[in-house]
Every structure is written in structure tokens, then in C-alpha cells.
């Protein structure tokens, strides 16, 4: 049974569609890379899945509780003077309960997510003082802290060097082995081919959805510079 199914979904702003008739589904343990040029509606699609945009038409059937969906935005617009420790940032993914509720469990969840993303030594550090790669790892820890069954990442390695990007892929691979499903917008074709099992190619609609092997024989793959 699919965890998430999009059936002919059209999304847009102020009633004007930017993404039309998108259909695909996510099964448990899937790692889906969403590929496509800039401005082809990938981030809009993510907003639709997260419920930040209502579909103009079509149906989004999500069998996962909203709080079990982890999300890493393309950009986290935080002022450079914002006072926040890494621990506070990771904990902010838990949006249920009040200040005093389940403190022990919350601490445990934060530590678990931090260890997985290799930021447990940075928990008391100011978030704005970290390197871009460390910030990104901390934000992935935030995404998975609430017990993510589905993790949605919008270009997580866009501003990272090869080593930092490799660390992010390792974390995602480990999450997938733990049973999480992943949807990742990416422009990194080689790593998308290496780590994903399915590809969604977007050009204002779902041009292609299928396995990596199937994708390699499409024109989209060769247009993107992939050699088969």
C-alpha cells in the first residue's frame, strides 16, 4: 500500500496552475529523486504535498500523520543574529504539547536525531555560527526528529561541497535503511542515480515516473547529460 498517492494533481498560485496533472506514489522505503530544470514546479509540488498549497484539482492521499513528515526547505531564511542553539532548532520539529510536556522523551528524540546526523557535539552551539554543511545537517536532524516516516528535502546539497554532500547522502541512506521513505529534489544526477530507486522527472507535469533503470533509457536522462 502506498504511503502517499498523487492523482492528477494541479497546483498553482492564485488559481493559476504552475504544475498540472501530476501523478505518482510513494511506497515504504522508496527514495525518489525529483529531477527537472529550475522553474518547472518542483518546489510547488513539495508545497502541495506538505499542505502549504491546496490543489486546484486532483487528489493527494497521504496515509502518514502530518507530524511524521520531515521537511528540509530549500532555504531556511534565518537572520544571522537569530539566537538559537542547534538543540532548540532540532526540537522545534516537535509541534505538539506545551513547554513542560514529555521533556525526557523530547530530549531523547533530539539526541537520537542529532547522533544520526552527526551533530550531537554541536547541540549547545549557536545555529547561526555553524558552517553551511553543519547547518544543513542540523536541519536534517530537525526534519527527522519527530520520527519521520517520510522525509521531503528540497535541494539539500545545493550549497555544499562534495564532502559535506557525501555526508548528507550517507545520512539519507541510513534513514532509508531504518524504513523511512524519502522524496528529494535534486540537480545532482550521478548521486540521484546512485542512491534513489525511483525518479520523478518534472516539467510542469510529471513527465516521467519510474525506476532508475527505466529512467536511464529516456530522453530526459540523455538531455541531462547522463550517459548510458
Amino acid at each position: 500500500m502506498s504511503l502517499l498517492t498523487l492523482d492528477s494533481v494541479t497546483l498553482g498560485y492564485d488559481g493559476i496552475p504552475t504544475v498540472k496533472n501530476v501523478s505518482f506514489s510513494v511506497d515504504k522505503g522508496d527514495f525518489i529523486s525529483v529531477l527537472g530544470k529550475n522553474g518547472t514546479g518542483k518546489s510547488t509540488l513539495i508545497k502541495g504535498i506538505l499542505g502549504l498549497l491546496s490543489p486546484i484539482s486532483g487528489n493527494i492521499d497521504c496515509k502518514i500523520e502530518r507530524r511524521k513528515i520531515g521537511y528540509l526547505p530549500q532555504k531556511c531564511y534565518v537572520a544571522p543574529f537569530f539566537p538559537a542553539t542547534v538543540e532548540e532548532v532540532i526540537e522545534s520539529s516537535i509541534v505538539q504539547g506545551f513547554f513542560f510536556s514529555d521533556r525526557k522523551q523530547r530530549k531523547k528524540d533530539v539526541l537520537g536525531a542529532a547522533e544520526l546526523c552527526n551533530v550531537e557535539g554541536l547541540l549547545k552551539m549557536p545555529f547561526c555560527g555553524l558552517s553551511v554543511g553543519q547547518q544543513q545537517r542540523a536541519l536534517i536532524a530537525r526534519a527527522i526528529c519527530a520520527g519521520a516516516e517520510l522525509i521531503i528535502l528540497d535541494e539539500p546539497i545545493a550549497s555544499l561541497d562534495a564532502i559535506a554532500a557525501g555526508e548528507i547522502y550517507d545520512i539519507l541512506d541510513e534513514m532509508r535503511q531504518c524504513g523511512s521513505s524519502i522524496i528529494m529534489i535534486s540537480h545532482d544526477l550521478p548521486n540521484a542515480m546512485k542512491f534513489s530507486n525511483k525518479i520523478l522527472h518534472m516539467d510542469h507535469t510529471s513527465e516521467f515516473f519510474g525506476s532508475v533503470e527505466e529512467y536511464k533509457v529516456t530522453r530526459f536522462y540523455s538531455e541531462w547529460g547522463g550517459i548510458e
Partner: protein
């Protein structure tokens, strides 16, 4: 008679005790609120709303109605409207604040002039006075401000999440609309109850300064909340002491103490940076 004995004599009076109780609570609320508003980049909303409060009080005094009864709902509606507009990129939030702020001030001054005779009373709302908290204001202020403080303590994690990354908070199922309404409500209550002591022209200083002072040297959100609250209450108590002993205007004295706290915090930051850079060179 030295300053302390003069102050201990003044503190025997009921109006002084009421001013200290309400003022302490207002200082605490405004500093907590200040952290939120400054980090959401809504600092000027406090200034705009204080002018709405002034206009509302002028109308209430004109019709001989208790000022808080008119001011709280009016400021609440304006607070919600301004927060909404600031989130909506189609309109410019700062011009909306400027429009509402000057319109309210103009209405306040015009109503006051037309009604005549109440100018002394309304002037106390412009710059604040220590003697203005009546017995009936006391209970209402304590109840309202206690609600605001509870919101910040119990909703702390939610307030952090919505200030740090509102889109993310929405995406993971946080009730962003509800939180924004609560923050608007807290802003309105704090400003209206603080208006009498601080005055419309100066209350926004009480909101912005403690948060900025705390943020100079503290790098965790919880730490900034605690230090900002402490700075604000201490600055208020010192300000009211100076004001009553040297017969200075209350609101102005408190804001001047807050300015001094900010300058000292800033200097401490510079010294810390200097030491750190010197160590790095060695």
C-alpha cells in the same frame, strides 16, 4: 533626606504600589513579547499599536468610558490586521504601520481637542505617569498580563518554532494561524496596559530594548527570553526609582535606563569579540 528614604516614603502610597506591581508585569510581558516581535521583524508594530491605543483612549475619555474597555478591542483588531498585512507580501507592512499609526494619533488629538477639558488626562497617556493606575485598573491589568506571561511560558516551544521558521512550522502541522492570533492578542494587551505608565510615545522602547540588549551576548532563545525579562524588570524598577526620587517623567526614565543597559551590553559584546580576536591571533 536621601534618595532611598524618599523612595521608601513614596512606596507607602497606594498609587506607587499599584504602579510597581503593574509596571513589573508590563515590563516582563513587553520584554518577552519584544524577543518575538524583534525576531519576526515586527519591531515597529509595537510603536504603531501604541498610537492606536492613544487614539482609542482619547475616544474613551471623550465619552467617559473606562479607557481599557475601548482600547483593548481596538488595539487587538489593529494588531491582528498589522500582523496579517506584514505576512502578506502584496502590501508593505511598514507603510501599513505608518498609516495606522499617524491616523490614530490624528484622531486621538482631534477628538481630544473637540471634547475639550480632558487635555491633562490625555496627555498622561502620551508620555505616561506613575500616578495613573487606579484600583479598578489593577485587577484587570494583573489578570490580563498573567495570561500573557502564561502564553509565553507554556507556548515557548511553539513561539520559538514560529519565529525561527514559520513555513516549516506550518509544514509539520503547527497551528500558525492560532499562534499569530495569540501573539497579536498578547501585543495588544501589553501595550494597552502599559500605556498609562509608559505613555504612547515610549512603550515601544520597553518592547524593543530589553530584547536587543539580551541578544548582544546570549546565543540561545531560552537564554534571551530569561535575560531579556530580567533586564526589563530591573530597568523598570531602577527607572521608577529615579523617576520618583528626582521627579522625572516615569516612561522617559525607564527608557533611558534601558538605553544604558543596551549600551553596556553592546560594549560587553565588543570587549568579548576583542578578547576572542586577540586570543585567535596568539
Amino acid at each position: 533626606m536621601n534618595a532611598f528614604s524618599k523612595f521608601s516614603e513614596l512606596i507607602q502610597y497606594g498609587y506607587m504600589q499599584r504602579a510597581i506591581i503593574v509596571g513589573t508585569l508590563v515590563s516582563l510581558c513587553s520584554s518577552l513579547l519584544g524577543v518575538t516581535l524583534v525576531l519576526k521583524k515586527f519591531s515597529m508594530i509595537g510603536d504603531g499599536l501604541s498610537h492606536v491605543g492613544y487614539g482609542a483612549v482619547a475616544i474613551a475619555l471623550c465619552f467617559s468610558v473606562a479607557p481599557l474597555k475601548i482600547a483593548i478591542p481596538l488595539v487587538l483588531v489593529s494588531a491582528f490586521f498589522l500582523l496579517k498585512i506584514s505576512e502578506n507580501s502584496k502590501f508593505s507592512g511598514d507603510s501599513a504601520i505608518a498609516v495606522i499609526s499617524s491616523a490614530s494619533l490624528a484622531i486621538g488629538v482631534a477628538v481630544n481637542s473637540l471634547s475639550g477639558g480632558t487635555s491633562a488626562n490625555i496627555n498622561s497617556y502620551m508620555f505616561g505617569t506613575i500616578m495613573s493606575i487606579g484600583k479598578d485598573d489593577l485587577v484587570l491589568s494583573i489578570v490580563m498580563l498573567s495570561i500573557v506571561i502564561s502564553l509565553f511560558i507554556f507556548g515557548f516551544r511553539h513561539i520559538f518554532a514560529i519565529s525561527f521558521d514559520e513555513n516549516y512550522y506550518r509544514a509539520v502541522g503547527g497551528k500558525a494561524e492560532l499562534m499569530n492570533v495569540l501573539i497579536a492578542g498578547a501585543t495588544a494587551i501589553t501595550i494597552v496596559t502599559g500605556l498609562k505608565i509608559m505613555g504612547a510615545m515610549l512603550i515601544s522602547g520597553l518592547i524593543v530594548f530589553p530584547a536587543l540588549s539580551a541578544m548582544q551576548n546570549i546565543k540561545s532563545y531560552k537564554g534571551v527570553f530569561i535575560v531579556s525579562g530580567t533586564f526589563s524588570v530591573l530597568a523598570f524598577l531602577l527607572g521608577i526609582f529615579i523617576s520618583s526620587v528626582f521627579d522625572m517623567p516615569t516612561g522617559a526614565s525607564i527608557v533611558i535606563v534601558n538605553v544604558a543597559v543596551f549600551i553596556v551590553s553592546y560594549l560587553v559584546k565588543l570587549i568579548r569579540f576583542g578578547i576572542r580576536n586577540a586570543k585567535a591571533k596568539v
